[in-house]
Amino acid sequence: MTGEPKIVRPYGDTTGDGMVQLSFTLPVGKDGRADGAALQLARKMGLEPATVVHSKAMGPDFTFFVVYGRVSHLVDLSQVEVVEREFPVLTAKEVNLAIRSRLRRKLVVVGATVGTDAHTVGLDAILNVKGFAGEKGLEYYREVRVVNMGSQVTADELVARAKAEHADALLTSQVVTQKDAHLHHTREVSEAVVATWPDASHRPLVIVGGPRFDTVTPKDLGVDRIFGRGTTPAEVASYLVHALLPTAKVPA
């Protein structure tokens, strides 16, 4: 789009009206102060005017609120970091060809859901032949060898296996986020990687995936890349080619 505004506001039914919806609980009984307390919070969040459209007692000590109001904050689109893929998405054929011609052996990936997390559907979606959203998983790629260790694997077990298999990439899945379990387990993996390959140039690529990583960066976690909700196997395969075989000429 050309001439698109760079500064925008939330939109209710008119450009610039700034309307947002909010809901939350306060540890306050539903007495004379409750709505006022909710409005105080709304104001601190920048809603002015704000209307408490619903408030409901949940037992004697808590009240639930729904608030609508206008925020004055501006969103500056020029300040938004655009998360563009830094690589093109390739077909399975292109991936296989790139590996065969540049690496001349199978590319090895070792994956697991680490720690107490037992969710494997996301990891399997990337690794298993069955794949995700109609796309086949990495097992389907002739030039990729997949070791899927399943779930509730410790960081040490994963790293040891990666070493034994001479893995090119190490894939960790994390789905449980309560008490930041996902960050905790991912850091265990990156620490184990550093301990095992003190020379960073020899270590495999470290990848983590899961639906709720958007509060952190790869650097925060000491990994090479994070894949979020909706990731497809082809994206992961293409990233592997991009990151591991950088000078590969990819057929157009």
Partner: protein
């Protein structure tokens, strides 16, 4: 779809219809023997009189007011106006109206040959309006055939920004998201104006003014998006209020497809005089009939002031009356979008089954009507989650009972006119329900003698009783007593009675004549 789930007794149904016919008769007679300022203005509009003075007062108002002042309206506006035009002093009707506005035209009732000539000229002029209306009807049918007519139930969405130029993109967006029908809500206050505003408008409270130009702009925008989507998107507005006949005429002239039009809504909810309303209604419906427009009646509104369980039978009675008045005015059964609503208090036990019973009763009583089913409004609070849930069960009743037109409920109904995202979420809701539930109606077979069947029979029984009382007391008295929407409206109260005129012998209205002759 064969609908015999309730096993209604055909004799009772016949009796209900016979009573409705009896109840309506005196009012129909009133409508035939009276005219109103708006009926006369509508006649002039059909003859092509457009435009307004600098203050926005339309020329048709000036003309009718002048005729009324000088000759009275007992004979209709046509004879005096076309007689004056025949004098040759005026290049055309608009020019004459401009002069009339400042008292510069002398009107008289022509007689003899003059009268014949005036009548002929008037008939010819008004005829051009019907040529256009008839062409629009054919164009609609062509577009429906070419672009495709969406299957029922039709999804009905509202736009209400107050600004026609904001409404247009929102309406197109709604169509792209799945709306089969777009309704442009009217500004609060317009219904009590005794004239139709002119031109494209950008200022309205909680709705956009109904004007001929706004109609034209929106229909053109929807034609564009219809072509884009390969599906004809219908346009709806309101033939209600003091200018009901004129708006009906404009709707026909600008190819609107459906119109909110009720025999009693203006009386109950806008305090418009009952007589005025019934007379205006008769004329407006005859035009809708000619234009192939589907009307939507307003029984849903009763349940915002009355209780939906206690007053369930008043909805049925009103539908029977609306049906009767509609048929008498020339509407076909497929044009009768009778209204009802999902308004039972969600806190009472079995509310959903009661809604099912009511919706199914309406469905089976009016098997050919494209029923317009309205979502919950009264019991929608600020709890948007609860609202989203209630709307889902409304959608479910709609699908289970084969309603024809589903007005999509908004989770924020208790708060504000819809946000863009409210509409999007509402469509997700209805789409989920329709897709997930499929032909659940197949599995829904209320047990004979069970809760649903008993409730439906009971409401029908109460309706027959009420109709009998209305026949005995007279419909106008029933309205005065607060029968509908528990709102009392005496026959000589309310706004607009001064615009009602008893027709004299020799009254002429070429529009009415052409409408009656054109009846199929």
């Amino acid at each position: 779809m064969p609908q015999t789930k309730l096993g209604l007794d055909p004799a009772v149904v016949r009796r209900a219809r016979a009573l409705a016919r009896k109840a309506a008769a005196p009012v129909e007679k009133l409508a035939h023997t009276h005219t109103t300022v708006s009926v006369e203005r509508a006649t002039l509009r059909l003859a092509g009189v457009t435009g307004a003075d600098a203050t926005g007062m339309p020329w048709v108002n000036h003309l009718v007011d002048a005729v009324r002042e000088q000759v009275g309206l007992e004979y209709g506006v046509a004879l005096p106006v076309w007689h004056a035009l025949a004098s040759g002093e005026h290049t055309d009707l608009v020019a004459m109206a401009e002069k009339a506005a400042t008292g510069g035209v002398r009107f008289a009732l022509p007689t003899g040959k003059d009268a014949e000539r005036a009548a002929k000229a008037a008939r010819k002029a008004v005829g051009t309006g019907f040529v256009r209306i008839d062409r629009n009807r054919r164009d609609r049918n062509k577009l429906l055939a070419k672009l495709g007519d969406p299957p029922k139930p039709w999804i009905y969405l509202i736009v209400a920004t107050g600004d026609i130029y904001e409404d247009i993109p929102q309406a197109q967006a709604a169509a792209r998201e799945g709306a089969d029908i777009v309704a442009v809500i009217r500004s609060t206050g317009q219904s009590l104006l005794d004239y139709v505003p002119e031109g494209a408008t950008r200022e309205g409270y909680a709705g956009t003014y109904a004007t001929q130009e706004n109609f034209r702009l929106m229909r053109a925008a929807l034609d564009d998006v219809s072509r884009e989507l390969g599906r004809y998107v219908r346009l709806t507005n309101y033939a209600s209020g003091l200018c009901m006949p004129e708006i009906a005429a404009l709707a026909g002239l600008e190819r609107l497809d459906m119109m909110l039009n009720d025999c009693m809504y203006g009386i109950i909810f806008r305090d418009i005089n009952p007589q005025r309303t019934f007379i205006d209604q008769r004329f407006s419906r005859a035009i809708h009939a000619r234009a192939g427009i589907v009307i939507n009646t307003g029984e849903d509104n009763y349940l915002t002031t009355a209780d939906a369980v206690d007053a369930a039978h008043t909805v049925i009675v009103s539908q029977l009356l609306n049906e009767r008045f509609g048929l008498e005015a020339g509407l076909q059964p497929w044009q009768l979008g009778l209204g009802h609503a999902f308004e039972i208090n969600p806190d009472i036990p079995d509310s959903f089954r009661l809604e099912l019973a009511h919706a199914l009763l309406v469905r089976e009583l009016f098997p050919e009507a494209p029923l317009k089913y309205m979502p919950p409004t009264k019991h929608m609070s600020g709890n948007v989650f609860a609202g989203y849930l209630l709307d889902a069960f409304f959608n479910l009743v709609g699908v289970m009972t084969g309603q024809g037109i589903i007005l999509v409920g908004m989770m924020t109904e208790g708060i504000h006119t819809p946000f863009l995202s409210d509409r999007d979420l509402a469509l997700e809701n209805v789409n989920y329900v329709r897709n997930a539930v499929g032909d659940l109606a197949e599995d829904f077979r209320p047990a004979p003698g069970g809760f649903v069947v008993e409730r439906a029979h009971r409401v029908l029984g109460e309706s027959v009783e009420l109709l009998q009382r209305i026949v005995d007391d007279g419909l106008l008295d029933a309205i005065a007593d607060g029968t509908f929407g528990i709102t009392k409206r005496p026959a000589d109260g309310g706004k607009g009675l001064d615009g009602v005129v008893k027709k004299a012998d020799g009254y002429l209205n070429p529009a009415s004549d052409l409408l009656e002759e054109g009846r199929t």
